[in-house]
């Protein structure tokens, strides 16, 4: 469970996050909103690239904001980026293993954990394949594998389905849905693909201009008039 | 990403590969044209009337005699004029009967003052190319790196020396004095001209104290204060150095420059910018003795710079050697870019010495043993370039001349005569004693 209170970020005059307050209990939670609503900024705060000017973030009782960013991975924070960041010159195995190496898990458990993670995402290629040779879909899956290896507690997925055709998005959705149960981690999913969000997320929060304008069961939230208004006029293209 | 790059490379193809192909072609062509011939430069074309070697006028066609040489050739420092001039004389000899029909072939290796490189090159010459002798070398660190190797191989080397070992190893015989003794001469001249104080400036490279040692003793002997400065020659600003020197020398003082011609010139140019020609007495070691420098400085420096010249000046000396030197330089010296000056004179004399030694071999068998024995036995060699007869020894050239620039050329200072290097410098004293004892 992660509680965000009055989280505020200022870049000079711009205020990407304005006293954001929300709590994600468990399972897979959606975070949606028009472009520039502050979703990625929120992730950057959690992973430590952006220092908030006010507010607090408590995850499973720990204060995330006081940790140096590379410590947070050790704590159990995982994250994917909008532009996929799997390491091209390393093999699939190494890609996942290097995350494991910087987690709390012991060296002994590495091989099994890594192969387990690759298994988990159902990647169709051998673990020794160089990532540089993979297609977008496979790279996305490798990223998810990186995000679930080494007993994570909090997994942030930033538009994991960007640029994927529907069939593959569906597979990805299944994988994401299985994370809370099988990996026992809280997932926060940012995406513009409403089908994916409603398919994966029990609860969803909506950001608009850095403010949470709605939060609750996904179905209700998507029917919420404010949300409609927020989306109207801003055409959402994935 | 991969594809994208690949495409970019395809797109680059024609646009980039073409320029590169052109550059490569041009480079290759130029090498072929300019350099490949370097080793066999200057074939023996007939030269009537030049009294080189036997002076028969018939080109030598026998089996060549291979003589090695090592010389520094790098940005900022290039002494290849010395071996090149020696080779020019060899060509002249080859065109005039050679060594009893045997032409002399020069095997020149250049270096960039990297010790390992010099060690390798000495071994290449002696153990791989099997040169029968080494004559005409001129390098900054050859003696320091290789003198022990030459000793071990029993090679007696004829060279123009710089490093201290050239003047202490029994296997090395220089035609010149090197920085230390030439600087001694410059210091003596400065004192003779009544310097109240001396500022002694040189490049900040190993051996500075060795170079300065003699001048220190000489100044002390005459109770003249002397201050030692060093410059980082790689990044020298002439004006800065000149002003520093003039301030160190003070009013009525003298500046002694111990630099290669380019650096010396940079300093004197700087002095010109600041109008310092008349502030002090300017003196310089041998490298300044080249018409190029005099020419570059222009008339404002007439009689303002006293150069200790280890070789006689060729302009107002009409002697046989001087005449021959000029002719050989003109006819065979195309590779002697520096032209008239001490460096090419060194090379010329080194060539003469080697030829004299080779011609003296009665057996007319030219092996490393015979040739080096002949080199070692050299003595009583008279040339109007040197004040005293030359012999194979530690410091055979220990009495020399003084020149100054005059309208673009270097001239002997009138009535300056021969200047014996002061024997307060211990090495000079030993040499003089040796000369007295052996009557050379």
């Amino acid at each position: 469970m992660i509680e965000i209170n009055d989280l505020t970020v200022r870049f000079g005059g711009v205020i990407p996050l304005d006293a954001m307050t929300v709590t994600f209990e468990s399972g897979t939670c959606g975070l949606i909103g028009p472009n520039g609503a502050g979703k990625t900024t929120f992730f950057n705060v959690l992973s430590g690239f952006v220092r908030p000017s006010a507010g607090s973030v408590r995850a499973f009782g720990d204060n995330l904001l006081t940790m140096p960013h590379f410590r947070r991975a050790r704590w159990g924070l995982r994250r994917t980026f909008q532009t996929e960041q799997a390491i091209e010159e390393l093999s699939v195995f190494e890609n996942v293993a290097m995350i494991h190496e910087h987690s709390r898990r012991s060296r002994a458990s590495r091989r099994s954990d890594v192969l387990g993670a690759i298994e988990f995402v159902g990647l169709g290629v051998g673990p020794e394949t160089k990532v540089g040779t993979l297609a977008v879909r496979e790279r996305r899956l490798v990223e998810v594998a990186r995000a679930v290896v080494g007993k994570p507690r909090l997994v942030l997925l930033d538009e994991p389905a960007a640029g994927l055709p529907d069939a593959e998005t569906e597979h990805l959705g299944e994988v994401i849905r299985r994370i809370p149960g099988e990996i026992d981690a809280l997932v926060i999913l940012v995406d513009h693909d409403m089908d994916l969000v409603s398919a994966c997320c029990g609860v969803t929060a909506v950001l608009d201009f850095g403010v949470v304008i709605a939060a609750g069961p996904t179905a209700d939230v998507l029917r919420d008039p404010n949300v409609m208004r927020a989306y109207l006029g801003t055409e959402e293209t994935v | 990403m991969g594809e994208e790059k690949a495409q970019m490379r395809k797109y680059l193809g024609w646009r980039v590969r073409v320029p590169f192909a052109l550059i490569a072609a041009a480079v290759a062509l130029t090498i072929v044209v300019t350099d490949s011939g370097a080793k066999t430069a200057g074939k023996a074309h007939a030269a009537a009337g030049l009294a080189c070697g036997l002076g028969t006028g018939k080109p030598a066609t026998g089996t060549p005699i291979l003589l090695g040489a090592i010389s520094v050739k790098q940005a900022g420092t290039d002494f290849t004029d010395i071996p090149n001039m020696a080779n020019a004389y060899f060509q002249c000899v080859n065109a005039n009967g050679g060594i009893y029909g045997h032409p002399i072939k020069q095997d020149l290796l250049t270096d960039q003052t990297i010790p390992s490189q010099l060690a390798a090159e000495a071994r290449q010459l002696i153990q791989t190319d099997h040169v029968v002798g080494i004559a005409g070398s001129s390098d900054i660190i050859d003696c320091a790196v290789n003198s022990s190797y030459y000793a071990q191989q029993h090679f007696y080397v004829l060279e123009a020396g710089i490093a201290e070992q050239c003047y202490s190893s029994p296997f090395e015989a220089p035609v010149n004095m090197g920085p230390r003794y030439s600087a001694d001469g410059a210091t003596q001249t400065a004192i003779k001209l009544g310097a109240k104080k001396i500022a002694f400036d040189q490049s900040n490279v190993p051996g500075t104290q060795y170079n300065a040692g003699g001048s220190k003793l000489i100044a002390a002997e005459h109770h003249i204060p002397i201050q030692f400065l060093t410059e980082n020659a790689a990044s020298i600003n002439g004006a800065t150095a000149a002003e520093k020197e003039v301030q160190a020398a003070g009013p009525g003082g003298a500046v002694v420059l111990v630099f290669t011609p380019p650096v010396a010139l940079a300093i004197l140019q700087g002095a010109q910018h600041l109008g310092l020609q008349n502030k002090v007495i300017w003196t310089c070691a041998t490298p300044c003795n080249t018409d190029f420098l005099s020419n570059a400085l222009g008339s404002t420096w007439n009689h303002k710079l006293y150069v200790n010249a280890e070789m006689n000046d060729i302009h107002d000396d009409g002697g046989a050697d001087a005449t021959l030197y000029l002719k050989v330089l003109k006819q065979y010296g195309s590779s002697v870019a520096g032209g008239i000056g001490s460096f090419s004179q060194f090379g010329f004399v080194l060539g003469q010495l080697a030829v004299k030694a080779l011609l003296s071999i009665k057996s007319q068998v030219y092996t490393a043993a015979t040739v080096n024995a002949a080199f070692h036995a050299l003595k009583g060699f008279k040339t109007d370039f040197l004040c005293k007869p030359w012999y194979f020894g530690a410091l055979p050239n220990n009495t020399d001349y003084t020149t100054y620039p005059e309208n673009g050329v270097m001239q002997i200072v009138p009535h300056s005569g021969c200047l014996p290097i002061d024997k307060v410098d211990p090495e000079v004293a030993t040499v003089r004693a040796y000369e007295k004892a052996h009557g050379v």
Binding site: T83, Q85 | D78, K244, A266, Q269, H273, G338
Partner: protein, 297 residues
């Protein structure tokens, strides 16, 4: 500590050197802002120009004035040619790659220069302005030094003004901020870049000419004098022309005013390095993260 009077003569020397560094510094910064290329071959280009001028005067006996113009033009043309070929090929690459490529050019030129103008020959390039001069206190000043400083100031001011008021200049500044947008605004990017290459090349040639006279006409020395220029440009964070000028002058002065202090005089060559390093680390400030891949790409 030496007296004030012994420092005085080093002031004009330092100012002159600084002026020459400023000259090339301005060219370097303008080119970087317009094309993203930090031209580390600046010194080599100027050196070759100066050597060509030397050959014209001493070998082909061309009147000095013509040779000097040729030197400056050579700088402009060579730089333009390089820019037209490699500048475009590398346009999409990281600034690091662009700068590294100019190191390749520097090596190429260095080799060519040592080949065509071997160090066996001692060379010098004297401008007629060396002959006249005047004295200030303990210091002698000749017209070349005056020209160096004056030209430095004029070029800095002129270029700054040019960037402000002219259409081309505005285009260059726009390019520095965002080339895509500038391109979409219908600015003829290529022509603007070409202008930047050519202009900076002219400055390289001019600086080479001045330094060959003020300092020394030696290919390697002039090639690596570029470090003084780079240092000044870095202190200005490759942006401000005025700061570049001031930095260049300061470097020139410090480098020379240290000279009479015997205890550290031999370490004066560290001036540009030390100043640049301090400046860089001072400006380094907070890291901001780029998602670009590191290294050669």
């Amino acid at each position: 500590m030496p007296s004030w009077s012994s420092f005085q003569p080093f002031i004009p020397i330092g100012l002159a050197a600084g002026g020459a560094y400023a000259l090339s510094g301005v060219g370097m910064v303008v080119l970087y802002r317009a094309t993203g290329v930090l031209n580390l071959a600046f010194g080599a280009i100027g050196a070759m120009g100066a050597l060509i001028a030397w050959s014209m005067i001493n070998t082909w006996h061309v009147p000095g004035g013509v040779a000097y113009v040729a030197c400056i033009l050579f700088g402009g043309v060579l730089t333009l040619v390089y820019g037209m070929i490699f500048g475009r090929v590398l346009a999409a690459r990281d600034p690091l790659v662009k700068a590294a490529a100019t190191l390749g050019l520097a090596l190429l030129l260095l080799g060519v220069m040592n080949r065509l103008w071997p160090a066996q020959v001692t060379r010098t390039l004297t401008l007629p302005s060396d002959n006249g001069g005047f004295a200030v206190g303990q210091a002698n000043v000749d017209w070349t030094q005056v020209i160096a400083v004056g030209f430095g100031i004029a070029m800095t001011a002129g270029t700054a003004l040019f960037l402000r008021v002219t259409k081309l200049g505005t285009a260059m500044r726009a390019l520095a901020d965002d080339r895509e947008i500038t391109a979409t605004l219908g600015v003829p990017v290529r022509r603007v870049e070409a202008a930047a290459w050519f202009g900076s090349g002219l400055l390289a040639g001019a600086a080479g000419l001045l330094l060959a006279d003020l300092d020394t006409l030696a290919s390697d020395a002039l090639t690596f004098l570029v470090i003084f220029t780079v240092s000044a440009a870095l202190i200005a964070r490759l942006r401000s022309l005025v700061v570049t000028f001031i930095a260049a002058i300061v470097i020139g002065l410090v480098d020379n005013l240290i000279t009479p202090i015997n205890s550290i005089t031999n370490f004066r060559d560290m001036t540009p390095f030390v100043l640049a390093i301090v400046a860089l680390l001072f400006f380094a400030g907070r890291r901001q993260y780029s998602f670009a891949r590191g290294g050669i790409r």
